[in-house]
Symmetry: C4
Subunit: 191 residues, 4 copies
Amino acid sequence: MGKTRLEAFSDGVIAILITIMVLELRVPHGDTLDALIPLWPIFLSYVLSFIYLGIYWNNHHHMLHTCTHVSGGVLWANLHLLFWLSLIPFATGFMGENHFASLPAALYGAVLLMAAIAYFVLQQMIIRVQGRDSPLRTAIGGDWKGKLSPVVYLVAIGVSFVLPALSLGLYALVALIWLIPDRRIERRMAT
Amino acid sequence: MGKTRLEAFSDGVIAILITIMVLELRVPHGDTLDALIPLWPIFLSYVLSFIYLGIYWNNHHHMLHTCTHVSGGVLWANLHLLFWLSLIPFATGFMGENHFASLPAALYGAVLLMAAIAYFVLQQMIIRVQGRDSPLRTAIGGDWKGKLSPVVYLVAIGVSFVLPALSLGLYALVALIWLIPDRRIERRMAT
Amino acid sequence: MGKTRLEAFSDGVIAILITIMVLELRVPHGDTLDALIPLWPIFLSYVLSFIYLGIYWNNHHHMLHTCTHVSGGVLWANLHLLFWLSLIPFATGFMGENHFASLPAALYGAVLLMAAIAYFVLQQMIIRVQGRDSPLRTAIGGDWKGKLSPVVYLVAIGVSFVLPALSLGLYALVALIWLIPDRRIERRMAT
Amino acid sequence: MGKTRLEAFSDGVIAILITIMVLELRVPHGDTLDALIPLWPIFLSYVLSFIYLGIYWNNHHHMLHTCTHVSGGVLWANLHLLFWLSLIPFATGFMGENHFASLPAALYGAVLLMAAIAYFVLQQMIIRVQGRDSPLRTAIGGDWKGKLSPVVYLVAIGVSFVLPALSLGLYALVALIWLIPDRRIERRMAT
């Protein structure tokens, strides 16, 4: 089975998610700075989630690049990932509206955690379809980023009930780790 | 006529439908569990409809896979299917907002029923275009899932006026039946 | 210049327009038939506009099928068409919310008229790019549908201030005329 | 790395942005001209932003046309551009709702300025990936439009605090400059 429609559908869903989040940035009543300033936590949450969805799209792009065909299991593992990503706009709005309070910050982390697990499952599915000598397995190597992220999310969820600002910092930290270009797959595909 | 744009357009519409449903999950006022818990019926409806739209996308993907070209009739049968799918977010919201009351549960079933009929019509159209030795006809075989689903929807619509929770269970059951991978088309295409 | 991205972008915009219209169908408060019934004018407007956008997508599909390459002018003529199509959800909501009152019915017709003109301009642009022996020119022939539609829209706009129900009937009539399959382009491409 | 998905994702995001702006055009209560007329500043802002997003899509299309492959840096520079474009619907709504008051007009200019800078960065990234003899570098030549636009935006932001109507005129002027077809890349690709 070809991967073209899987890519197209995932691109579509992620493109929509990344843009409907901006609808949470509601146009304020009034044309002064005083009307605009209270939007900062919603804007900050938007930036963070935009980066996260960008990272997922980027990594998804790289991961599928190593595939030539997909199985029914991969299609469903992919939909499972998209399901958790689809909750990011809600979690983002919940966190932004409540100025990074404890429960919203924890829920945001929980959605990120589930998305990370779903991504891992999808990765394993693809490796299984590719069989031995899987180019994806070779490309990801030890996958320390994929292993570290869920641990940090778990810590951040715990921390959010004590110091939600710190948990937000941890989410930003994980995003930063992923932003550092991961040349493994690019290098692998070049050889 | 090529099938590329038909696939792209259908992917686009289904991707948008699957994501705008999440807009029904409105960010609650308040940052406590008490603010979040009343959302559970909307969330549950969302999960069910996400799975249904995922199944439709998946089956659509497989069905079009057997095609090399499409006719004007297929384009319209496809738009007809997309029309009924486009009502799923409304029916989902109506059911979730009203905690699975009778009429919303029946309406949800009616939309699923019409979508199933539209899918069947599209399938027949494609088989007719493919002519004798249609790979799709061979692939679907007796099509017991396609025949059973509308019957269960009809039963569930009737049941919803007596015991709406049971009709919801029936909708979930049909989803489960479809989730079990259908290897017929994959097998057929492999040979 | 290739036409792939032009098709993809147009498919994306039309797919979004056809689905965001459903957001006007707001989930009613209450779970009874009494809550649902007042939605019928919005639903009816939705069906009509869904069919119109389906027709535009379908014809756009056929028209681009005759092209191998596009010019900068075609890109802009296409965006111009998409602009008027993008006003269909607004005009649909305005007409549905106001139970087919005079001004909303006239505005709906005006948007359809502008879209028809924009479609005609795009068609001419493509014919010019194709030069003499343009397959599109041969395919559309006398283009009686394209010439009749704006006239009917103009009549319907006038009629809407006297008998808005009749203007709605005229819009439905034009849709019906277009729904009758237009085999000209298909036949031309087959030969 | 191929550019297909980069194009598809960008097309998706821009298609969504260009259409969700229309959601700001809220269906008015009432069916008279008096109900419709107050929407004119929102409509005017919509037209301006539609043209801007159309220009960005058009130029993006041309720019990517000169590429055969992209790097990880290009992916991120592209996401950075999409981020600023994603703020256009918000800035448009803010300006339209407040009848082109000073702060909203300045914010609109700031978003256009950031998008222009992001576009410039993306252009430089692609030129760097293409190496010496970059077809994009040759194609854009002196890039006077790309250099003039940010200067005009800066002037317009300053002007908006004195005479916001003039700043709006300046935004329209820049759009007009870009609308004049830029045959450089087309010509370059033809040779």
